[in-house]
Amino acid sequence: MNKEHFLKQLESSLKKLSLEERQDILQDYEEYFSIGIEKGKSEQEIATSLGQPKKIAKELLASYHLDMVEQKTSARNITSAVWAVIGLGFFNFLIVFAPFLTLVCLVISGWLVSVAFILSPLGIIINLFIGQFRIADMFLSLCLCGIGIFVAMGMFVATKAITNGFIRYLKYNITFVKRGIKYE
């Protein structure tokens, strides 16, 4: 692999980074190549000693995504960070993905329950049309509807709390995960 090939591969693996950051990184490696050439090494030799561009990119990307979560906590940033960290190894898969999946399922199922409860009077209306209407069913469904509204209110608070909690967990793990990156 020559210099051009190496830099091109690195650049294309770093598409997600901002132009500024990508150029900064590429400049570092360009500098490395040009000094190496001055010292009388061949481009191939330098590229080989640097290792695979894709591996270098993986390491850079994971750090980048973690920094993004620290800067701005959006669902998208969290997901990107989770994926980037998972990409680094199986151990990270366990400590990051398992809790992430559990929490996502918990939140989704909570919301589904509340929505189903709130919409249950609709079933009564359908019963009315098909002639299966019973007064007891109506009270039951109104009860459920009320409970559903409470569940929804609870879920609203819980979703916020869980999101914040997970972000804190990720942040807490950043040092640990960053260490993990080093050991990959």
Binding site: I25, Q27, D28, Y29, E31, Y32, S34, I35, G36, E38, S49, L50, G51, Q52, P53, K55, I56, E59, L60, S63, D67, K178, R179, K182, Y183, E184
Partner: protein, 106 residues
């Protein structure tokens, strides 16, 4: 030597080298790879990470030959971190040496 082990040590090596004087990336990589076999490409991600953590600052300096070079300078925060790591390392290596000596004596 074990790759994982070496990569953890890399951070310590970089910090120690910068404690003496400011250096540019190529120089750092060469100094380290003269002593330890490393994947040279992984030093730059490490340098970027430690710069973001404010352990280093960087500046460009013209060189007599070729393009300007990016120099890394250790900050006070970085120096503090270095001493922390050094203490850890000394404890660790003393412990291992102790075990080896006891093992050899038997």
């Amino acid at each position: 030597m074990n790759v994982q082990f070496k990569k953890g040590i890399l951070e310590l090596c970089v910090l120690v080298l910068l404690d003496k004087k400011d250096r540019y990336g190529y120089e750092l990589v060469q100094e380290i790879s003269d002593q330890i076999e490393i994947s040279e490409g992984s030093v730059y991600p490490l340098l970027r990470r430690l710069t973001k953590e404010e352990y280093f600052t960087t500046y460009l300096q013209e060189s007599s030959e070729g393009p300007p070079r990016k120099y890394y300078k250790l900050t006070d925060k970085g120096r503090e971190y270095l001493y922390e790591l050094l203490t850890d390392w000394k404890e660790f290596s003393n412990g291992v040496n102790q075990l080896i000596e006891e093992g050899v004596r038997k």
